[in-house]
């Protein structure tokens, strides 16, 4: 079998046993890897309706065929389990070097069962898995653990996935980190790993990934190098995702003041937290204009180099390069959501989150929720322990963040995430920005209307990386012009030929949402980066994704096959949520978005209309082949994606 190692490691933490499964190729063809494979193990090994922190929650880290090949955008790994945040499926991807190194160490996936009584860490060195005591690592920050393990195992080249202190303390939005700056961030996977007392997974190996067609992989790699400049991806790499801050401000789509506005109050405040400012002033090497060499980092074999490396300080606190720099999402949640225009403070907040291991989206959004509660007198200084938690107060934001990360004082309440915090306090629900208990990411459905549909219906809560965004289907951007390549090239092969304005949510736009959701769903299964193979970020596109999968495995693979893989994963997620008791009623948007219009900027006066959303859901469920009343997959649809056994399990 090409592309894969053919081995899956099962770790039972309850009795500290290890078992290696060697599934037949047919299993890999059916469940591919990444998210789809993780879902399979979750379904098969975890009973229905358990608590997410129950030891029987099965946590899988899974790769697919392309991971470890010498081409951009393939070092991705999906973690899957039941989510403590949503009560449905937890699913999150991370890049870096860890995913490729796991393949080199000899495994396609690690399936973690049970829970240990005492802290442990797992190492897999050249095909040899081993559990170790981790008492000495418990309570340490991520970089400290990185350094300790490299010294302990006498190898600076090991790659480490780990929970931070917030994962140990079961924070609702705890992440799993690698390199101390890459995160399996969303859906609370760090809390699940913490509940199992698994502190870290160390991987290192020298096994080569055998592609079915090595020459074709190298040709694809060369093509990427040639296209880097003309595709615009060189500039994306230069400013990273942070480069989109001003575009959001200009379009009225920069969520500000806990989503009361789509713009920062002044242009200067938005400029102060922009990707350009980050590049000019905070990236390592900025003082000598060597940011492109010193201030950018990458994932295994990727030429885009979009990750930020910072070197500066905030109020005498050093901004440490190893903790990386903020992505757009982090700049928004700790910046514009909180009304904070101090980019050094935002960068320090990012560092603290990486040091303790939390999702910067949910954590920042939880603090902005608390700020709106404070501004409106719902919580007071008595609640916050004297902290004046007003919008724009960077010192207060950092102080409250530290309390949250350590679960001290009011921070212990906020570590539950905003939805559970509101329940615990019995107030503040009107300011929540959560879907299925998870905080909204930083793209606004007011100006990207199909995103509202995906935020409402996505199985693991509101997510901005589960479908493409409306502007790419704008008639002007779809077609392109000299000097600006159009998105048609990548969208037409998906059957998307009816471009629409971003503020429209009609049947054509629902088709756009669903079909691009299949593509993104496939990327998370095939384990490739959406910024490199997605339908809008254009170093490669969906056809290249299909080609890469074929080059890696030798299996015939077309764009239609890619779409079917994505469709199958989406159906299995949705079916899992049905098994756990979620229904169409859970597919909605925060009341705030449905009842309050935005103020200021290009989105002034815009509110999401509930009727429009419900109509779109009807159309979406119909196009997906799901039941209109429950929103769950039907037997016919499950059978169409080779998941008849799931229909059997659900009693359909």
């Amino acid at each position: 079998m090409f592309g894969y190692t053919g081995k899956i490691l099962h770790v039972n933490l309850t009795d500290h046993t290890l078992e290696i499964e060697e599934p037949p190729e047919s299993f890999y063809r059916d469940y591919i890897g990444g998210s789809l494979m993780g879902l399979y193990y979750l379904w098969k090994h975890s009973p229905a309706e358990i608590d997410a922190l129950d030891s029987r929650n099965t946590l899988t880290f899974a790769l697919a065929g392309p991971v470890g090949l010498p081409v951009s955008g393939q070092s991705r790994c999906t973690a899957t389990c039941k989510s403590p945040t949503t009560g449905g499926v937890a699913d999150s991807q991370a890049g870096g070097f860890w995913p490729a190194e796991l393949k080199f160490a000899g495994f396609d996936a690690i399936v973690i069962h049970g829970a240990s009584d005492t802290p442990v860490y797992l190492s897999i060195i050249d095909g040899e898995p081993k559990l170790h005591d981790a008492a000495h690592l418990w309570g340490k920050t991520t970089l400290d653990v990185d350094e300790t393990l490299k010294e302990e195992l006498n190898d600076k080249k090991i790659e480490i996935a780990q929970i931070g202190i917030s994962g140990e303390k079961l924070a609702n939005f705890a992440a799993v980190m690698n390199m101390s700056n890459r995160a399996w961030g969303r859906t609370g996977i760090g809390a699940v790993m913490g509940s199992k007392k698994l502190k870290a997974i160390v991987v290192r190996g020298s096994q080569k990934v055998e592609a079915a067609d090595k020459k074709a992989v190298l040709a694809l790699s060369k093509q990427g190098a040639k296209d880097l400049e003309p595709s615009g991806m060189a500039r994306f790499g230069k400013y990273g995702t942070a480069g989109s801050v001003m575009g959001q401000q200009g379009g009225g789509g920069l969520p500000s003041y806990n989503w009361s506005s789509g713009v920062m109050e002044t242009l200067e405040e938005a400029e102060a937290i922009s990707g350009e400012r980050l590049y000019d002033e905070i990236l390592a090497g900025a003082a000598e204009e060597k940011q492109d060499r010193k201030g950018r980092d990458t994932c295994y074999a990727c030429i885009v180099r979009c990750k930020r490396v910072v070197e500066n300080e905030w109020r005498e606190n050093p901004l440490i390069p190893e903790y990386g720099g903020p992505e757009y999402e982090t700049i928004a949640t700790f910046g514009s959501y909180c009304g904070v225009s101090d980019l050094h403070a935002v960068t320090y907040a990012n560092q603290l989150c990486n040091e303790y291991g939390v999702d910067t989206i949910s954590c920042g959004a939880t603090i902005s929720w608390a700020m709106e509660c404070y501004e409106n007198g719902v919580i007071t200084k008595e609640d916050t322990g004297g902290i004046e938690l007003n919008f724009g107060n960077a010192e207060a934001m950092i102080e409250m963040l530290k309390l949250t990360l350590n679960r001290e004082g009011f921070g212990d309440v906020l570590a539950e995430g905003s939805a559970k915090a509101a329940d615990r306090l019995g107030k503040g629900h009107e300011y929540l920005l959560t879907v299925k208990g998870q905080e909204l990411p930083a793209h606004m459905p007011h100006v990207k209307r199909s995103l509202g549909l995906i935020y409402a219906t996505n199985p693991f809560g509101a997510d901005h990386q589960s479908s493409d965004h409306d502007p790419v289907y704008h008639p002007k951007l779809y077609e392109g012009k000299p000097g600006r390549p159009g998105y048609k090239k990548f969208l037409e092969p998906l059957g998307l030929t009816r471009p629409q304005h971003p503020k429209v949510l009609n049947e054509e736009k629902v088709e756009f949402a669903l079909k691009t959701q299949y593509t993104f769903s496939a990327a998370d299964t095939i384990s490739v980066c959406q910024f490199v193979y997605g339908s809008s970020w254009q170093l490669y596109g969906p056809q290249d994704m299909a080609n890469l999968m074929e080059m890696a495995t030798g299996w015939d693979m077309s764009v239609d096959d890619i779409q079917e893989i994505g469709r199958k994963r989406l159906n299995l997620m949705r079916a899992y949520n049905a098994r756990e008791g979620l229904t169409r009623d859970d597919d909605t948007l925060p009341r705030k978005l449905l009842t309050k219009a935005l103020k200021g900027g290009r989105s002034d006066g815009i509110m999401i209309e509930e009727e429009e959303l419900e109509n779109a859901k009807n159309s979406y469920f119909e196009q997906a082949g799901w039941d209109q009343v429950t929103g769950n997959p039907t037997r016919a649809t499950l059978e169409a994606v080779d998941l008849g056994w799931v229909a059997d399990d659900l009693g359909l």
Binding site: G247, G250, E276, E329, G483, F531, W537, G601
Partner: protein, 90 residues
């Protein structure tokens, strides 16, 4: 002998344009995304975009702090034009 006839001098105006995000790299890096442009009187926002080498539509633009929807809007001497690229995911 034909009398020499002077061509009427073309009236010019000067505006400032600021390009955000990765658009700023269209200009030399020392400009940090901002430059002054000399344009014929009566030029539009779209003309200014073309002058810096961008397509004349498909961006969010603002003139003197006011968002505008039509890039056919005429400019005046001293105007300050902002150009933002729509953001996809990330």
């Amino acid at each position: 002998m034909r009398a020499w006839q002077a061509k009427p001098l073309q009236k010019l105006m000067q505006i400032t344009i600021r390009l955000y995000g990765s658009l700023r790299d269209i200009l030399p890096s020392e400009n940090k995304g901002q430059t002054r442009l000399d344009l014929p009187a009566g030029s539009t926002v779209g003309d200014a975009l073309k002058k810096v080498g961008l397509p004349d539509d498909g961006y969010y633009t603002a003139v003197n702090g006011e968002n505008i929807d039509q890039n056919s809007r005429p400019l005046e001497d001293g105007d300050y034009v902002l150009v933002f690229a729509p953001a996809a995911g990330g």
